[in-house]
Structure formats: C-alpha cells, structure tokens
C-alpha cells in the first residue's frame, strides 16, 4: 500500500504544508506534539477538510489533486475513520451502528466479515444496547468495529485512546494490533504518545508545525537525536524487534534474538520464533569501558558510542550501536556527564552496554504477529 500525501492549507495563523509518502502495509504513525497539524492532515486524507493545494493518493487512486481539479467527496473515498471521541450514533443500537457503512461497500470489496470483527473486538454482548449505556472503552471498540465493517481501503485513527484512562488504553491496544495482523488493514494512526509509537508503528511520520519533518521506519526515526526537539522530550529508549529464541523454564527466563545479540528477559509465554518488540529505556542501560566480570547483569553487549546528546546538563543520553557489524542494533544509555568525562567517551569509543533484565517488563513487550512487508 502506498499513501502519497502532499497538502497545503492555511488555518488561521497556522500553515499546513505536509508532504510524505509511506509504503506501510501495517501501521503508519503520524507522531508529533499537539498542535503539530496531525489531525488536520488526517482530516484532509479523509476528505473532511479541503487542502488549498496538493495531491492525495492511495495506491495510485487519486482522492485529491488541485492541479487536475479532483476532490473526491469523503463518502466516495472509502477511508475508515476512528475519531478521538467515539461519535457513535446515539439513536441507533450498537448493531445498527456497526452495520451503518456496510451497504456502501461494493459487494466485491466486502472482504471483512462483520462477525469476525465483532468477535475480534469482543463486542458481541453489546449488540442490542444503545451507545449511551456503554463504557468509554466499549464505545471506542464499537467505533473501531463500525469503521472496519464498512470495509475501508485504509483506516485512520486519530488518537483513539485519548479519551481513555490508562487501564482502558491497555484494553484497546491489543485490538488495534490484531486488526492490523488478522485483518491486514493498513492503518494511519495519529499519536503524541511515544509508547504508542513504540508499540504500534511500522512507519513513523514526525509532524512539526504543519510539516512532515521526517519519515521512516520506527527503529530509525525513534533513535535519531536530531528529531527529539520536534517530538518532545520523551523517555529516551530504543525500540528493538526480536524473535523468541529459547526459554529457560528453570529460572523463568526467555531468550530473544536481535541483531545486536541475545537478550535475556523474564519469561514470555510465546512459541519459539515468535516476533516480539522490546523497548529498552535509556535509564536501564549503563556502560563500561572494559568487559565486566562476575556481575549480576545478564545482558552485556559489546558496541560503540555513535552519538552523545550533551545538551541536557548533568545527565547525558548516549546513542550506542551494539553487535558485530553489519548486524547491529541501536541502544540508548542515560549516564551522568561526569561518567562521560571519567570514561573518556566520545563517538566511536568502544564500550560494553549493560542492560538489567528486570527492566524489560511485560508492558514493553509488544506482540508482532506479522512480519513487516517492506521493500
């Protein structure tokens, strides 16, 4: 799936001028602070906001093209949209809400079965009820189901977790992963939360002041120091795609294979070979100049310093590259400026990265069922 977006529009004192192409078959996250223009861009893709100039196309199907005077109305684009608020029709039952858009999908393109969606989202027991009697989490699941049952070509999700509390978010996230993996639905997901990017994204478009500042694979984008002023100062860390290699049942451990080596984490109940995404926070990584001996830390990786982010004052974030080239993986370490001086660290310096196994809890493990298709 190729999504081309090139849009310009003035909104009051704010200028949208975003341009990007994404090849995502999975989830593309539009990431940026609030006010970066993410929602406006998504509204333009959906056809709810008209750009002043530009072009929007999905797999060569043109939705908007100012040069050729093309502006397909929203109802003919067949792009699903899950909004920040649920926007369910209050006068209809959950069942009628869910089926609202289905009649408009051409018979040949109804590849998604309503029953499968209802089953996947776990909303079968809600069908006879009215939206007002549902909890916020249930409403949002119904809203996702309503968009899916219309069999869209692309699903837009604008911070669908924004109105939910932390517990409810954890409840919805697995469903979003499942719709990508089980229904093969391409998704453009708007978020300002780095945890959601880490967990869901295949591709990331970093938005800042109405522009697409960077586009790329999540591992590359989230480890770039230069983008951090745009994305906000979030908890620094590395996102690593791994596969389950083996289990150690006696000590309750799981070994994960990643390009930088073998990672030991608390037991994860997944079969061998299952893809897993791990986030390693910078503060859980220390560095040593010499190979450490007789220590409790299980994860020690040899690597080198790539970049030093010194602007933070007494605390410094190091970007490391671990593993033997060309098989390497990015890693972040947060240490004091004094340690940098004491160890004489500079870009290119050889170091050992020490990762505490206990730092990898279940929350940082995102399931990745489907291998990413990218060319």
């Amino acid at each position: 799936m190729t999504l081309e977006v090139d849009v310009e529009r003035r909104l009051g004192a704010f200028n949208i001028a975003a341009r990007f192409v994404t090849e995502a078959g999975g989830i593309t996250v539009l990431f940026g602070r609030s006010g970066a223009g993410k929602t406006s861009v998504v509204n333009m893709i959906a056809g709810l906001l008209r750009p002043e100039r530009g072009r929007i196309a999905l797999d060569g199907r043109v939705f908007y093209d100012s040069e050729h005077g093309i502006d397909l109305p929203a109802e003919h684009r067949r792009i699903g949209y899950v909004f920040q608020e649920d926007r369910l029709f209050p006068h209809q039952t959950v069942r009628r809400n869910l089926h609202y858009g289905r009649r408009f999908a051409p018979a040949g393109e109804r590849r998604i079965e309503p029953d499968a969606v209802i089953e996947l989202l776990g909303i079968g027991h809600l069908l006879g009820r009215r939206p007002r009697s549902l909890s916020t989490g249930e409403k949002q699941r119904v809203a996702i189901g309503r968009a899916l049952i219309a069999c869209p070509r692309l699903l837009l999700m604008d911070e669908p977790l924004a109105s939910l509390d932390t517990a409810r978010r954890g409840e919805i996230l697995p469903y979003i992963e499942r719709l990508r993996d089980e229904l093969a639905m391409p998704v453009v997901y708007v978020s300002h939360a780095v945890e959601e990017v880490d967990r869901l994204a295949d591709e990331v478009v970093v938005m800042s002041e109405g522009r697409a500042a960077a586009v790329g694979a999540v591992e590359d984008i989230m480890s770039r120091l230069d983008l951090r002023p745009l994305t906000g100062r979030y908890e620094a860390g590395a996102v690593i795609d791994c596969a389950v290699e083996d289990h150690d049942r006696r000590y309750g451990l799981t070994y994960l294979r990643f390009p930088g080596g073998r990672l030991t984490v608390p037991f994860v109940d997944l079969p061998q070979g299952a893809p897993v995404r791990v986030r390693i926070r910078a503060r859980d990584v220390s560095v040593a100049r010499l190979a450490p001996a007789e220590i409790s830390i299980l994860n020690v990786f040899k690597g080198r310093v790539v970049e030093i982010d010194g602007e933070a004052g007494p605390i410094v974030d190091l970007r490391l590259e671990v593993g033997a080239p060309p098989e390497t993986a990015p890693l972040w370490a947060r240490i004091t400026a004094r340690s940098v001086a004491d160890l004489g660290l500079e870009p290119g310096a050889e170091v050992y990265a020490l990762v505490k196994a206990v730092a990898l809890d279940r929350r940082s493990l995102g399931l990745r069922q489907r291998a990413r298709a990218r060319d």
């Binding site: 709810l48 109305p73 929203a74 109802e75 909004f83 006068h91 009649r103 408009f104 939206p131 219309a150």
Partner: protein, 231 residues
C-alpha cells in the same frame, strides 16, 4: 357527536381538517427552510430569514390581505393555480389551510432550526466517512436526531393553525361549512344576540381539543426520547 349540534360538529371537523393540511404542507417545507438556515450560507440568507419570520411580527390581517392580493381570484398566483391546477384557494377551506400554514410557518421553522443546531455536525462527518452521501446522512442521522424539535414544531404549528383568526377571515372570509373554523364560529356567535351560550360551548370545545393535542404530543415525545436512547 350527540353532544354537539350539527353546526358545532361542522366547525370542529373543519378546524381539524384545516389544521391537519396546514401542518402537513408546512412540515417538509419548514424542515427544508430550517436546514437551509441552519446549515447553509448563501446570498440572501438574511432576507429569507426575515421573510420567514414576517408573519410572526405582522398583524395577521396584513398577512391575510397579502394572501388575498397574491392568491385571490385575480392575484398572480391565484390565476396560475386556477389555470394550471384547477385549484381555487380564495374563499375555500384550502385557503384557510394556506392562511394557517403561513401564520404557523415561523414557529415550525424556529423549533426545527433550534433542534438542527443541536445536532453534532461531527456525527454527520462520521457518517460520511462510512460512505453515506449527504441525503442519506440527513435521512438517517440528522433527521432522527432532530425529531424532538420537529415534534415541537408540529405541535406549535398545529395549535397556531387551530387558533388562526385574523388572516383567515381576511383572506377567505367567514363561510359556514367552508371557512368557518372554531375561532370564526365563536366570533360569529358573539356578534349575534343570545349567542353567548353557544360561544361558551365552542370555547370549551376548543380547550378540550387543545388539551387532547398536548396530551398526545407528550406521549409521542416520550416515545421519541426513548428512541433516542433515553432522556
């Protein structure tokens, strides 16, 4: 109808019929105009708004006279109706319905418009992303959510139509069995010696009809509220 005299029955049925047709015709037009005013911007919108509200501020006699000029036998619209549709409006019960509809129209439009303003346009946008065209969105989302306002508009218009006097008597006169509705019948009785008792009977009858209409609308409103998912 043993309680009522033939003349009273006639006036009652005529009033109900006039009010019924008045509301039936002004309802779709009223919803359309309310939608135009609530959701569209176009040149002349303020003018349309003014014209729609004119019957609310003009003396009813003036409205009746204007209708007579327009729709009378020699009025431009009257001739057209006569020639093309074979319809005579002036001095017939149809004319009474037209007069009632015009007088009740602003009430209908105001009620529907208020209700339309309260419908969240974001719901309509959501419906469009699901593939529904504008007309379908209007019929399946906007209209059902406007139902309480439409009901209010219908009740107000119906009550106004039942009570219409000034424009009716000016436009279609006071013809027994044709244009003599309840208010006109009461007025006639008060103008003849010894008619007070008859006038009182009709006044009570008017009150009963109004109460019944209110009761029915209350029941309907409850059902609509339940249909919209509770209060």
């Amino acid at each position: 109808m043993g309680v009522l005299s033939p003349a009273e029955t006639e006036a009652l049925l005529l009033s109900l019929r006039v009010a019924f047709w008045s509301v039936l015709w002004s309802l779709p037009l009223g919803v359309f105009v309310a939608w135009l005013l609530a959701r569209c911007s176009f040149p002349g919108k303020t003018l349309l708004d003014g014209v729609v509200h004119l019957p609310l501020v003009l003396p009813p006699v003036v409205v009746g006279y204007a209708l007579l000029l327009l729709l009378g036998r020699r009025g431009p619209l009257g001739i057209w109706l006569e020639d093309w549709l074979g319809l005579t409006v002036a001095f017939t019960w149809r004319g009474a319905a037209v007069a009632a509809a015009v007088m009740a129209f602003p009430l209908m439009v105001r009620a529907v418009r208020l209700s339309l303003d309260a419908v969240d346009p974001r719901l309509e946008a959501a419906a469009r992303t699901l593939g529904a065209g504008r007309l379908w969105v209007f019929a399946t989302v906007t209209l059902p959510l406007t139902a309480p306002g439409i009901l209010t508009g219908v009740i107000l218009a119906y009550a106004r139509s039942l009570g219409e006097f000034g424009a009716t008597i000016t436009f279609v006169s006071n013809i027994p069995g044709e244009t003599r509705t309840l208010p006109l019948a009461i007025y006639t009785l008060t103008q003849v010696p010894g008619g007070e008792a008859g006038a009182l009977r009709l006044a009570i009858l008017s009150a009963v009809v109004a109460l019944l209409a209110l009761l029915a609308s209350e029941l309907l409103a409850r059902r609509i509220k339940a249909g919209l998912g509770g209060p």
